[in-house]
């Protein structure tokens, strides 16, 4: 801008500073609160500068956790969240890449039907289909037994000469149950499909003439070209997985599978006693770190993936 209007400059800076304040103040209070003893936060005014209880708070939360809530240390919760977020992000990307590759580069019967079936699931996020999904996770064979019942067979077993197969496999309270239902993703498949459509046909043909079969083409050409898209998607999906709340709450009852988002929630909802805000804030601060690290670490690729058309 070459315009010189001092008051406009002052005003826009004021708005910007206000914006930063709105975003940053809660973060500041969170971090500061995590360094105080519990009693300091129950008196007014709440402290705005660091206290001297930081080491104790973090040691307690990482080591033993809050005794009267779940008694699980934050290290375990963060590990669970990490497993969940990574599985979701990597699983989604892997499956979507392969699905998009199949849809874009192969002629097979019902190809477009497959694509539209995947696409339609965009309208059915986990929250919408949460009950049927829960039922399937509670027993993976539910659809099969329902089908067998329809065909007039009773019971939940398949009896073959010599062996009996019990149709009962529960994924409740397991990492598989936590992640598998969230891995199926139309968004990522669609995104990769759109990207593959922009890859010039000549590149595919050149690779064919160069003697690269489909899998070699996928590995040597398509994957490296999708690098920035994969990175951008990874960041988004990692945060999506890390922030999951409703689904983990539903499928896990064993404290060993508590994720950090569930953990924080249960720390606040305590009966009969005051929540220990200093420890809650410690947990919140720790919970923020991995997503922040991922964003900072992959920032360059992430931005490239969203804006660049490197062809």
């Amino acid at each position: 801008m070459v315009e010189n209007r001092p008051w406009l400059t002052v005003f826009s800076h004021f708005v910007l500073i206000l914006g930063i304040g709105v975003v940053a103040l809660p973060l500041w209070v969170t971090v500061v609160a995590s360094t105080h003893a519990g009693e300091d936060l129950l008196t007014s005014p709440i402290p705005m500068w660091f206290g001297d209880n930081m080491v104790d708070n973090y040691r307690q939360m990482l080591g033993s956790g809050m005794q009267h809530v779940s008694g699980q240390p934050l290290t375990l919760m963060m590990f669970n969240s990490l497993v969940m977020a990574l599985s979701i992000a990597i699983g989604k990307i892997a499956i979507s890449l392969i699905a998009a590759f199949a849809i874009c580069y192969f002629q097979f019967p019902l190809r477009m039907t497959c694509f539209w079936m995947i696409f339609i699931t965009l309208m059915l996020p986990v929250e919408v289909r949460i009950l049927p999904t829960y039922e399937v996770i509670a027993n993976v064979f539910t659809p099969l037994t329902k089908l067998l019942n329809l065909l007039g067979m009773e019971g939940t077993e398949i009896v073959l000469p010599g062996i009996t197969i019990d149709l009962d496999l529960s994924m409740l309270d397991s990492y598989a149950g936590l992640t598998l239902p969230l891995i199926a993703s139309a968004t990522a498949t669609f995104l990769f499909r759109q990207f593959f459509l922009t890859v010039p046909d000549e590149l595919t043909e050149a690779a064919r003439i160069d003697g690269a079969g489909p899998l070699k083409f996928f590995r040597d050409i398509l994957l490296p070209l999708s690098r920035t898209n994969i990175a951008a998607l990874f960041v988004i999906l990692f945060i999506y997985g890390w922030n999951q709340y409703l689904w983990p709450l539903l499928v896990t009852t064993d404290p060993a599978y508590v994720t950090i988002v569930m953990g924080i929630q249960s720390m606040v909802n305590v009966a009969d006693i005051e929540p220990q805000w200093n420890l809650v804030m410690t947990a919140a601060t720790l919970a923020m770190l991995p997503p922040v690290a991922i964003v900072i670490g992959m920032q360059r690729l992430f931005v490239k993936g969203l804006v660049e058309t490197e062809k």
């Binding site: 043909e205 690779a207 064919r208 003439i209 160069d210 003697g211 690269a212 490296p224 490197e310």
Partner: protein, 365 residues
């Protein structure tokens, strides 16, 4: 090195569209064949069928002594250069050239040796570590060439490789490709819609129109004796002039629709009297003459330096006929000519330089 034999090749798309109507072509070992024609004439389709990127729905394609109809592109021992180069953007120049060899399991030292040799031929020595996007258009084109020559294939296939370059570079690369092909002696098939490129590069030309090979021959054969109105109009720039007419009752003259009478070669017309014909005459074969049978009114003058192009209407010098204007005619005069718009000239044409085509079929008579 190998000859290439195309017999009765047809292409019908699944939707019933017939893109190629049975083409026969024999390419000798080391020959440079150019397929030329307007967009949609099937020239690229034919090339892609040779490459194996399109299925062949009829006839056979033979490279060397193998029928390749059912072979994968990689097994046909051909290399192709694409219009947009189709370089792998994430690989260095070296990797781009080496990729095909690596997939074929060549040993490392042999790959290195072949790539270095190709880089030397194409003056890419200092650029082997660069990515394609760091190269200019001409350099990318050379890398695409390099990727083809490291394979030392039986045949090169070029799909409009120069269309993405600017005019000056195009002329330069045209010469380079031709020289390279001479030096390597590799059988080549080259597709272009640019007739200058076609004329200058080809040993033999195939002029294609609507899925049919209209004429196959050396550039000079096609220029001197076009087999149809289409070939006559396509080869040569500016394009051949066409006038509607009729063989006169004496069989020695042509009667144009505008009433003008043109003499035919002394050995007689290849057509009986009263036959309706299309007369083709090239702009460079029309000459000003005081008493010429055509009256030409200059409407536009283009000075090209070496030549002067005149555009205008031609009509009969003597009046008579049905009074029609003869239609637009282009005249090419060598050297400079200061002619104002509206100048009226008499025009004549050597009888031997007239091309006669059947008015209905467009075939040469």
């Amino acid at each position: 090195m190998a000859e290439l034999q195309i017999s009765a090749v047809e292409k019908v798309y699944p939707n019933g569209f017939k893109a190629i109507h049975g083409i026969d072509l024999e390419v000798a070992d080391g020959e440079f064949i150019v397929l030329v024609g307007p967009s949609g004439c099937g020239k690229s389709t034919l090339l892609r069928m040779i490459a194996g990127l399109e299925t062949v729905t009829g006839g056979t394609i033979r490279i060397g002594d193998r029928i390749v109809n059912e072979l994968e592109p990689a097994d046909r021992d051909i290399a192709m250069v694409f219009q947009n180069y189709a370089l792998y953007p994430h690989m260095s120049v070296y990797q781009n050239m080496a990729y095909g060899l690596r997939n074929r399991g060549f040993p490392k030292d042999q790959i290195e040796q072949r790539v270095q040799k190709a880089a030397g031929i194409l003056q890419l020595d200092g650029l082997l570590d660069r990515r394609p996007r760091q190269l200019s258009g001409g350099q990318r084109q050379r890398v695409a060439m390099g990727r083809a020559i490291v394979r030392e294939p039986s045949a090169f296939l070029f799909d409009e490789p120069l269309s993405n370059l600017d005019a000056k570079l195009r002329v330069q690369m045209r010469v380079e490709i031709k020289q390279l092909q001479r030096r390597l002696g590799t059988t080549s098939v080259y597709v272009t819609h640019d007739q200058i490129e076609a004329m200058t590069m080809a040993d033999r030309l195939v002029v294609m129109n609507a899925g049919v090979a209209e004429q196959i021959g050396t550039p000079i054969e096609l220029y001197d004796r076009p087999s149809s109105v289409f070939v006559g109009g396509f080869i040569g720039s500016p394009a051949m002039n066409f006038l509607a007419g009729q063989v006169d009752t004496d069989g020695r003259h042509l009667l144009l629709g505008n009433g003008a009478r043109l003499a035919l070669p002394a050995d007689g017309a290849p057509a009986e009297p009263n036959r309706l014909v299309t007369i083709g005459v090239r702009p460079e074969h029309l000459a000003p003459a005081e008493d010429g049978p055509l009256r030409f009114e200059v409407e536009l003058v283009e000075h090209l330096g070496a030549d002067t192009l005149l555009y205008g209407e031609a009509s009969a010098a003597t009046g008579g006929g049905n009074g029609d204007k003869g239609g637009l005619v282009t005249v090419r005069l060598s050297g400079h000519h200061a002619l104002a718009m509206g100048t009226v000239l008499g025009l004549t044409a050597e009888p031997a330089q007239l091309h006669l085509f059947d008015a209905a079929t467009g075939r040469r008579l």
